[in-house]
């Protein structure tokens, strides 16, 4: 311990004890090294340097191993926290992991994902942009950036990064990743109601789908959403071809065929769907309507004249009856002279036509079928507008009328 009167040597900084004038360190006899020649000393320095290199090498190897282990430990903690839906805790853990492995792209990636999960979007964006700067072609980084912009409804930026992700580099199974990204992009576009863009992406996706029933069914569903029923039907048909025990695909196919007014196909597909999943009420309902359309449609091919006439008369009676019931439920007296409006108009037209509705007249004048079916459509539409969704037979008549209208157009 320094005593009173001690002082520091101005040359070497060691203590000069009180009473002494010379520094004991500076005045100590010089060692062996001082007696060596300069060249020898340079060689000694180089040898020492080599030894120091080896020692530092061992030390850094151990250090890096320890750092990696610590980084891995904090990364696992973060993963666990993320799985337990504690994103804030995961963010802290991943931050700590990055202290020990600062440039570990995987850790940075999961940190960005955790930040997105924690809804810290601004921080996530900076994190991802830094990653992007380093790996602009990385599929995963671009996908995360796309998701970030999708979350903030920035459609143009999201599409840009989704596209880069589709064409970006993926470490493993690039085909599958690219497909998944495109599917995600399609979902996003549909969510944002960007139907045209979604349809283009779906067409591109359709060309590269593997033999996977679920994927075909999913793509079929998305085609349904963009109202491309023909391609949707193709996809569902492909799906049921690959897996005939998939009720969703049968229902999808039935639904697509139904929308395309191909009721024969629709009945077959929907029947399979209902057989596999009797709880699918929508399919059951559409199946019933499809069956009714096939039973009631007077315009079907290969019908005899007699059958066509019978169906026309039955359709007329059904529509008139529906119109009357609807009018009654809405409190409209169709018999009253002063009644006006669509009900009266349709009813009066029907009343005027009713005397002509007989098998004999229809046999004499086959064109009357068209006039009667126009009236059927008028009555059904009037009733539907006033009373909402009609019973199944009337729905079937409406479908027949619409199909006929579309065909004529």
């Amino acid at each position: 311990m320094p005593q009173e009167g001690d002082r520091l040597c101005p040359r070497c900084g060691q203590l000069i004890p009180a009473g002494q004038t010379a520094c004991p360190v500076c005045t100590a006899p010089k060692g062996f090294l001082w007696s060596l020649e300069r060249e020898t000393l340079v060689l000694v320095s180089i040898v020492l340097l080599a030894v120091f290199f080896v020692i530092t090498g061992f030390t850094t190897t151990k250090y890096h191993a320890e750092q990696d282990a610590l980084g891995g430990r904090w990364y696992q903690r973060g993963e666990a926290a993320l799985k337990a839906n504690r994103p804030e805790e995961a963010v802290d853990d991943f931050h700590t992991a990055l202290v020990y492995a600062r440039d570990n792209a995987a850790y940075q990636m999961v940190l960005a994902e955790a930040l997105v999960r924690a809804n810290r979007l601004a921080e996530a964006e900076v994190q991802l942009r830094t990653l992007w700067e380093r790996q602009p072609g990385s599929g995963r980084v671009n996908l995360e950036l796309a998701r970030l912009f999708a979350k903030s409804h920035n459609v143009s930026e999201a599409i840009r990064y989704y596209h880069t992700a589709v064409f970006g580099a993926w470490e493993s199974d690039p085909e599958s990743h690219r497909r998944q990204v495109r599917i995600e992009l399609c979902r996003f576009l549909l969510k944002e109601n960007e139907r045209n863009a979604a349809e283009s992406e779906l067409i591109a996706l359709q060309a590269e789908l593997p033999a996977d029933a679920d994927l075909h069914a999913e793509v079929g569903n998305m085609f349904m959403q963009v109202q491309d029923y023909r391609r949707a039907l193709e996809e569902f048909q492909q799906a049921v071809k690959l897996n005939s025990k998939q009720p969703g695909a049968w229902a999808g196919a039935g639904n697509a065929a139904y929308q395309l007014a191909n009721y024969t196909q629709a009945r077959r597909y929907l029947q399979n769907a209902v057989d596999l999943d009797p709880k699918n009420l929508e399919a059951a309902q559409k199946l019933e309507i499809s069956k009714l359309v096939l039973e009631l449609d007077p315009f079907q091919r290969r019908l005899s004249q007699e059958e066509r006439n019978r169906r026309t008369i039955a359709a007329f009676s059904q529509a008139l009856s529906h119109l009357k019931q609807c009018a009654q439920s809405r409190g409209v007296n169709l018999q009253a002279q002063q009644t006006t409006g669509p009900f009266a108009k349709a009813y009066s037209a029907a009343k005027k036509m009713q005397p002509k509705v007989s098998r004999l007249n229809l046999r004499r004048n086959p064109d009357l079928v068209n006039g009667l079916m126009d009236l059927v459509m008028q009555m059904e539409e009037t009733a539907q507008q006033a009373c909402g969704t009609p019973p199944a037979p009337d729905q079937a008549l409406l479908m027949i009328s619409h199909t006929r209208g579309n065909t004529e157009r």
Binding site: Q14, E37, F53, T56, T60, Y63, H95, T96, D103
Partner: protein, 581 residues
């Protein structure tokens, strides 16, 4: 005694030694950084937020250990290391005992690793300088070379600590050597490059910080950076004032308190660390997070304030450790906070908070450490992005000027004066006005003779003049002189009709230009009573004349003014510290 056989020429050896020093320094810094990290992990734990008991006890107990080591074993390791290296160069002929290297290594690793708010860069600088000094002395270099070798080691140590050789070279030139000396520049560059190479070999290629991409969105954003310069300038000022005040106070406290001051600082930092663990240690990872926009502006501002407090406590307690890392930390936090506020008020500008944090680091470097050139190049080197140059230059200049205006004595010079030494101030040298010939010269004398004039004409012209000495202008731009006495003698010799150019045999006069330093005039004037000061593009155009009396008068006036300025700018506390009695 046997004469040494010299095969290695001293100049060649100096350059070879620079490389060896660089390699040794690089290895030492690698081990130093690993030691700091290991100390932190073993004592504080691997988490970014250690437990309360640990956070309070570890820095306190380590503070006691550091104090004991500094007082009993390594008395020269106090402080950051920059001034100690300067002292070695300017006072101790480049001598830094090797025990200082070991002491600095151990005490700083313990202090920084246990959370003291200090950095490893300045100690690395001193470790490098110490290694260089030891090698220089062992290799029997001349006294001049030993004096020059310490800055070479300093640059190597700092370059490895920063992983930025350009900034390290600039800092050593700007703060330690003070001039671009060709004698040492090559060696400094070699040493810095060697040390960085070693560091990258062992610790990887990554720069000190992972810097996010920076783009200046709109030129109007430069206004925000100007505001950052103002905020950073005043923050630097507050930091300087607080550190120097606390350092002076803690030095003046009873001697027994020196044993517990680092522990007390450790305890205070531990208390802060319970709520803000980010302020503990060097804080590189926190700077990294700030660069990546991971904090709100309020937290950034809070961190800046508490880091200023924590660093002031740590440094003034006598705990060895550097100021660079805390300066970068505070700068990054202030920059981030200003950037965050800009985003609130001007969201359309869209500049990144990380960009502001990056520029902020340079701002504090310029304002607090007062190294404007290094501050600009450091940010450029760290970011690797040239587009940041405009914001950096604007902010740094503003911060530097504010700091210079309100705190004329730079931080390191103030420390050296507080310690009772008067190391040369590089900033004062830079700022000092060099006296030129123009400051001392008088208007041209009324009579200037021409060499074509005859002796009779010349005699007639000078008869009425009270002067004895006259300048003679030659067509080719030469100047000679003649006295009245000479002219009278020539007339008597019958040379009245001869032109002066033939009649005179006096030697040519040395001439001066108005922008030349006054030293040049002093060297040239010799015994001449008067020298011509001529235009640089027209040698016959006489701008003025200068005599020895004029030169001395100019020096006298300049000295009086400097004394007046010194008295007005030197704080009374410093004068008291310099003259305790």
């Amino acid at each position: 005694m046997r004469a040494p056989r010299i095969f290695l020429h001293e100049e060649g050896l100096f350059l070879l030694l620079a490389v060896i020093i660089g390699l040794f320094s690089g290895l030492a810094v690698v081990c130093f950084q690993i030691s700091i990290d290991w100390t932190r992990i073993k004592l504080l734990g691997s988490s970014l937020a250690p437990g309360t008991l640990r956070i309070l006890l570890v820095p306190t107990i380590a503070g006691l250990g550091v104090a004991a080591l500094v007082i009993f074993v390594f008395p020269r390791v106090r402080g950051s290391g920059v001034n100690q290296t300067k002292a070695a160069v300017y006072i101790y002929d480049g001598y830094i005992p090797f025990s200082t290297v070991i002491g600095k290594f151990l005490t700083c690793a313990l202090a920084i690793g246990t959370g003291q708010s200090l950095g490893p860069e300045d100690p690395s600088l001193q470790i490098g300088a110490g290694i260089a000094s030891a090698l220089g002395r062992r290799l029997h270099l001349s006294r001049d070379k030993v004096r020059l070798i310490a800055p070479v080691g300093a640059a190597a140590g700092l370059a490895a600590a920063f992983n930025a050789p350009i900034s390290a070279v600039l800092f050593v030139i700007e703060e330690v050597i003070g001039k671009w000396s060709s004698a040492v520049l090559g060696a400094i560059v070699l040493a810095a490059v060697s040390s960085v190479m070693v560091l990258r070999l062992f610790l990887g290629e990554e720069p000190l910080f992972s810097v996010p991409p920076f783009h200046l969105v709109h030129p109007i954003e430069l206004l925000s950076y100007a505001i950052l310069g103002v905020v950073g300038g005043f923050a630097s000022l507050a930091f300087i004032k607080l550190v120097s005040y606390l350092r002076l106070r803690s030095k003046a406290m009873p001697k027994w308190t020196h044993y517990v001051q680092p522990a007390a600082a450790g305890l205070l930092i531990g208390v802060m660390g319970i709520w803000l663990p980010q302020v503990m240690g060097a804080g590189y990872d926190i700077i990294d997070q700030a660069l990546h926009d991971q904090f709100t502006w309020k937290l950034l501002a809070l961190l800046a304030i508490f880091k200023i407090l924590a660093t002031s406590f740590s440094f003034s307690s006598g705990t060895p450790g550097g100021m660079f890392a805390p300066t970068l930390f505070i700068g990054a936090m202030i920059g981030g906070a200003v950037g965050g506020i800009e985003h609130i008020f001007f969201p359309h500008l869209g500049g990144t908070v990380g960009g502001f944090a990056l520029v902020g680091m340079g701002v504090l470097f310029a304002g607090f450490l007062r190294v404007p050139m290094t501050s600009v190049f450091m940010v450029l080197e760290l970011s690797g992005n040239y587009s940041i140059i405009l914001p950096v230059m604007i902010s740094n200049t503003i911060a530097y000027l504010i700091s210079l205006k309100y705190q004329p004595v730079p931080l390191f010079d103030m420390f050296s004066r507080q310690d009772g030494t008067d190391l040369p101030s590089m900033e004062e040298q830079r700022e000092r006005t060099t006296l030129t010939v123009e400051d001392a010269m008088r208007p041209p004398a009324e009579i200037v003779l021409r060499a074509e004039d005859t002796v009779a004409d010349a005699s007639r012209r000078v008869t009425a003049s009270a002067l004895e000495f006259f300048l003679v202008s030659h067509r080719n731009g030469d100047w000679t002189s003649v006295t009245k006495e000479n002219l009278r003698r020539l007339a008597k010799e019958g040379k009245g009709a001869s032109p002066l150019v033939r009649a005179l045999s006096s030697p040519l006069l040395p001439w001066l230009h108005p922008d030349q330093p006054l030293d040049a005039a002093l060297r040239q004037i010799g015994d001449w009573p008067l020298l011509p000061v001529i235009h640089r593009a027209d040698f016959n155009n006489l701008q003025g004349v200068i005599s020895l009396a004029d030169i001395l008068a100019a020096y006298g006036a300049a000295t009086d003014e400097a004394d007046r300025n010194k008295l007005s700018t030197e704080p009374s506390a410093q004068r008291a510290a310099l003259n305790p009695e």
